[in-house]
């Protein structure tokens, strides 16, 4: 809300300006006003204000203490903090406006406990806002820190934060801000200055167990201590922080000698270096100097806004088909004329990066089957395809049926009237108006009279590209990586068929120096180090076929070497109606483990693995997937995964798998879990692309609950072409 005073201040000069204006030579181009009406600063903003600063645990907060603030929805933060040889790498994701989750990897140098000199550990935090700040009420948040696993940082807290306008130091535009924070902490945050005990004694921290289980027995138990602090932001860039910490660092200072805890007061200063980077320096516990680097980014606000070359405007047929004779349908009877039209349409599509696969031309209707190797947004691809048809087809064609095709299979049909295209391009609500007039339906079988592109099959494609393969969380070296080049080739002899392979040449890396497996299960995934001994490998070589066996059904069959560790045969069927949020699928694979050298030989381990899967599209881009079936080690169980995919393709998700393997047999971590990201290339570069960098991180890679990775899985491409995705992408149609 704009305060009334500011409004008056802004409006009055503008009115004076109106009165003062008199005939005479204006001085354009004049300098743009820097503030006040007419300046860029006064115009509406769509980007949110600078987000809250983060603490040493990567959550909004002070220094070592949390505050009650939440990040903007969807925000993603990576922080590094260091003091006294204690380093923490934190990743925080604001999953919902009131809920955030963090993952942390930390190292404590010279702890000399639990059999390690430097102690590495992983942990998860979750925070939920109980209510927002309003009136005199502060914002209040409940947090569980390091709530699962071995819990070296285990703590629970209830914290309140209230923001005030405060003195500015003069060089900023707006007023300064003061944030007061106070709360109660348990566990680590109750280890200093306790005032009471709730729920009896808290079980102590035991280092070196397998972890992975929720530590419900200790939540909100034991001593509770009040903590407090403040952050003063004199302008947009600087902030000063002070806090009274209730973390006594018992393990680090009494059981070991990592640093000396002389005082509970911490002080710090932070500077917002750029929109995304914030740096801080601190003095902690009366004896130590500390640092943080905080990077925040929001999937909704890409580094470069997507710029696509402007399309050619639709020229209404009334401009160029001015005579009655132009509107005839005789052309449809001539095969050579049809072929000519197909080639013109293919040319127009090619200019926009689309590939004409087949076209069916009737007097008043046309069905275009096209491939989209350029645009992530199915809506944008449909828009460009519609424009290409409007540009090239004879005037008598009024209905366009646009069918995006993935590996020869039609995914959906978008039906648009050409006159709507002509009428709505410049209407005030062009994106919504056109989507309202668009029909989305099942692709249906390919019409028998379809004219295929003359130049498409057989198709041969090759690429040479760099690759990286990371390995995480080895206690000796937390991060290892291999990198090199992939030489890939594919051959499509006919629609739906594909033969593909890739040879991988490692140029360097250190994954091969990692830990050997200590798993008691069949080593279905933990022999990573053995596989990494070989530098020139056949990454994959397979044949696959995709087809549509019936209405709302999609099918795939593959055979060959699917990934570096497995080869075999695989089949999959997916049921996904175009207008439904629900999809159901079944996949069955008989696979054999490949030899460590990753050429054509196999090891003596074979398994039948497969799952029944249910997929559901929730609101806000959330996608739920539940799988049940048999995993690679022969274990039975289920996987639950929740992804949030932003409409620009940025994805953040988490998953866990529970199987009939006991926590003891599974080993460290007790069960399989992890999280994943995908950063789209188009999001990074601001120009259209369909590729992205995917990353799945597991706190520990074990053998229970593992799946085989088969190329050309069905759900993702099918979903992206269906109604919900098109609706989300409708704003892109005219672009």
């Amino acid at each position: 809300m704009t305060p009334i005073k500011t409004l008056v201040r802004r409006t009055v000069p503008a009115m004076l300006l109106c009165l003062a204006a008199a005939p005479g030579p204006a001085q354009p181009p004049q300098a743009a006003p820097e503030t006040g009406p007419g300046s860029a600063a006064a115009a509406p903003r769509l980007k949110p204000l600078p987000p809250p600063s983060l603490n040493f645990y990567g959550s909004p907060g002070l220094i070592d203490l949390p505050s009650a603030e939440m990040l903007p929805d969807g925000q993603y933060a990576v922080t590094y903090s260091w003091f006294a040889g204690i380093s923490r790498y934190n990743m925080t994701f604001q999953a919902l406006p009131w809920l955030s989750a963090s993952f942390r990897y930390n190292g404590i140098q010279d702890l000399n406990l639990f059999g390690f000199s430097t102690y590495y550990d992983r942990g998860f935090d979750v925070r939920a806002r109980l209510w927002r700040e309003r009136g005199w009420l502060p914002e209040v948040t409940l947090g569980l820190q390091d709530f699962a696993g071995t819990g070296i940082y285990a703590a629970e807290y209830l914290v309140a934060t209230k923001r005030f306008e405060a003195a500015a130091l003069g060089w900023g535009r707006g007023p300064g801000r003061l944030k007061l924070t106070g709360g109660f902490g348990w566990g680590r945050l109750g280890s200093n200055g306790g005032i009471a005990t709730t729920g009896g004694t808290r079980p102590g921290f035991v280092g070196g167990d397998t972890g992975g289980e929720l530590a419900t027995d200790q939540w909100f138990r034991g001593t509770v201590s009040p903590f407090a602090g403040f952050e003063w932001q004199p302008d947009e860039r600087w902030s000063f922080k002070a806090e009274y910490s209730t973390d006594a660092y018992v393990t680090e200072t009494r059981d070991s000698d990592v640093f000396e805890h002389k005082s509970a007061a911490n002080f710090g200063v932070e500077y917002q270096r750029s929109e995304r980077l914030r740096l801080g320096a601190y003095y902690l516990y009366g004896s130590e100097f500390g640092l943080t680097a905080q990077i925040q980014l929001n999937p909704k606000h890409p580094p470069t806004p997507m710029a696509v070359p402007a399309p050619h405007p639709v020229v209404p047929r009334s401009h160029w088909a001015t005579e009655q004779a132009h509107w005839g349908r005789d052309w449809a009877a001539s095969e050579s004329r049809q072929r000519q039209i197909r080639d013109q349409a293919a040319e127009a599509l090619k200019a926009d990066g689309l590939v004409l696969e087949a076209i069916t031309l009737e007097g008043t209707r046309a069905e275009l089957r096209y491939r989209n190797p350029r645009y992530r947004s199915a809506g944008q691809a449909a828009g460009r395809a519609a424009r290409a048809l409007a540009q090239t087809l004879p005037p008598s064609v009024e209905t366009f049926r646009l069918v995006p095709v993935h590996r020869g299979t039609g995914l959906a049909a978008v039906e648009i009237r050409r006159s709507d295209l002509e009428a709505l391009e410049f209407s005030p609500d062009a994106p919504d108006a056109l989507f309202a007039a668009t029909g989305v339906s099942e692709a249906g079988p390919l019409p028998p009279e379809a004219l295929f592109s003359a130049e498409l099959y057989p198709a041969f494609a090759t690429s040479v590209s760099p690759y990286t393969r990371p390995a995480y969380f080895d206690p000796d070296q937390p991060f290892r990586i291999d990198a090199g080049l992939d030489f890939a080739a594919s051959y499509a002899p006919a629609p739906g068929w594909r033969i593909a392979g890739a040879i991988r040449q490692r140029l360097g890396g250190n994954v091969k120096n990692g830990r050997a497996s200590n798993s008691v299960l069949p080593h279905v995934r933990t022999d990573q180090v053995e596989y990494a001994q070989f530098g020139t490998t056949l990454e994959n070589l397979y044949v696959s076929r995709l087809w549509k066996p019936g209405r709302n059904l999609y099918a795939r069959a593959s055979a060959g070497l699917f990934e570096s560790m497995y080869g075999g045969v695989s089949g999959e069927v997916l049921w996904k109606p175009v207008n439904s949020r629900l999809g159901l699928g079944v996949d069955l694979n008989y696979v054999v483990q490949r030899d460590f050298d990753q050429r054509f030989s196999f090891r003596d381990y074979r398994v039948l693995t497969g799952h029944a899967s249910a997929y559901y599209e929730l609101d806000r881009g959330y996608q739920l997937q539940v799988d049940a079936g048999r995993y690679l080690a022969g274990d039975y169980g289920g996987t639950f995964s929740l992804n949030r995919e932003f409409d620009n393709g940025f994805l953040v998700g988490a998953f866990f798998t529970l199987t009939n393997v006991s926590a003891e047999d599974f080993g460290e971590g007790s069960f399989d879990k992890g999280f994943r990201f995908r950063i789209p290339v188009d999001w990074l570069l601001g120009k259209p692309s369909r590729s992205g960098f995917g990353l799945t991180i597991r706190p520990t890679q074990r053998d229970g609950g593992q799946k085989v990775v088969v190329p050309d899985r069905l759900y993702a491409p099918v979903r992206a072409a269906h109604r919900r995705s098109l609706e989300e992408q409708r704003a892109r149609f005219w672009e």
Binding site: A43, V308, P313, H319, P373, A423, P431
Partner: protein, 229 residues
């Protein structure tokens, strides 16, 4: 050290192989990023030649009319030619102007209603247009639909007052024009937008010779001049 050497080797080989993807398949993401980095470097090395000074004599040699569009927040300037003039069911004539490097702007009676190819652009707009009137015909509601939140859209509703600031003259490349200065003062969506139009003051002419208009949060203000004789 090994990591740096490795990255260098990767980068070098990939740049060497740049464009090493053939056939009707999607390009690997790593390749696209490396190519973008390569383009960025070569662009830094070879800055664009300075633009020729704009003179009336130069303009007179051109076979078609141009408009000059300057985007204030990125110090960019371009010359656009008209690719389409049409009407639809809403009042006013629509004109689409386009640069050679595929950026286009659409106007209704001289008011910006769409930008394409700029990134984070103006998807569509409702403007107070009327037949035969250059620039805004009245105050009242104005609606901008903007690209926002990734691939989504955000509607910005504003309430405008129209001020006639009276007759003025503007000089556009050696020619002085008599114009009326119209100013739209719009409030809404937590901000203020001021659009200025300098409209031909001869009777029966509705050409907006020059304007400064807001084209969305990302593009900001654009200045437009008609360079024709």
């Amino acid at each position: 050290m090994t990591l740096i050497r490795l990255t260098a080797a990767l980068l070098a080989s990939a740049l060497l192989l740049g464009g090493c993807a053939r056939g009707p398949e999607e390009k690997p993401g790593e390749l696209e990023v490396l190519q973008a980095v390569g383009e960025q470097i070569s662009r830094r090395r070879k800055p664009a030649p300075p633009a020729a000074t704009l003179t009336r004599a130069l303009l007179d040699q051109q076979p078609q009319n141009y408009i000059e569009v300057a985007i204030e927040n990125r110090d960019a300037k371009a010359y656009l030619t008209r690719v389409l003039e049409r009407r639809d069911s809403h009042p006013g004539t629509i004109e689409v102007w386009r640069t050679q490097d595929n950026v286009s702007l659409a106007f209704r009676q001289g008011m910006v209603i769409a930008t394409r190819g700029l990134g984070g652009g103006l998807l569509s707009a409702e403007v107070p247009a009327a037949e035969g009137v250059g620039g805004p015909a009245r105050g009242g509601a104005r609606r901008y639909t903007l690209r926002a939140d990734g691939n989504g859209q955000r509607v910005v509703n504003m309430a405008c007052r129209l001020h006639d600031l009276g007759p003025e003259t503007v000089e556009i490349v050696e020619i002085t024009r008599s114009v009326r200065h119209l100013q739209e003062y719009c409030e809404g969506a937590g901000g203020v937008v001021v659009n200025d139009y300098w409209v031909d003051s001869r009777p029966g002419r509705a050409l907006v010779w020059q304007s400064r208009q807001w084209a969305g949060a990302e593009t900001g203000y654009v200045r437009i001049r008609h360079l024709q004789r």
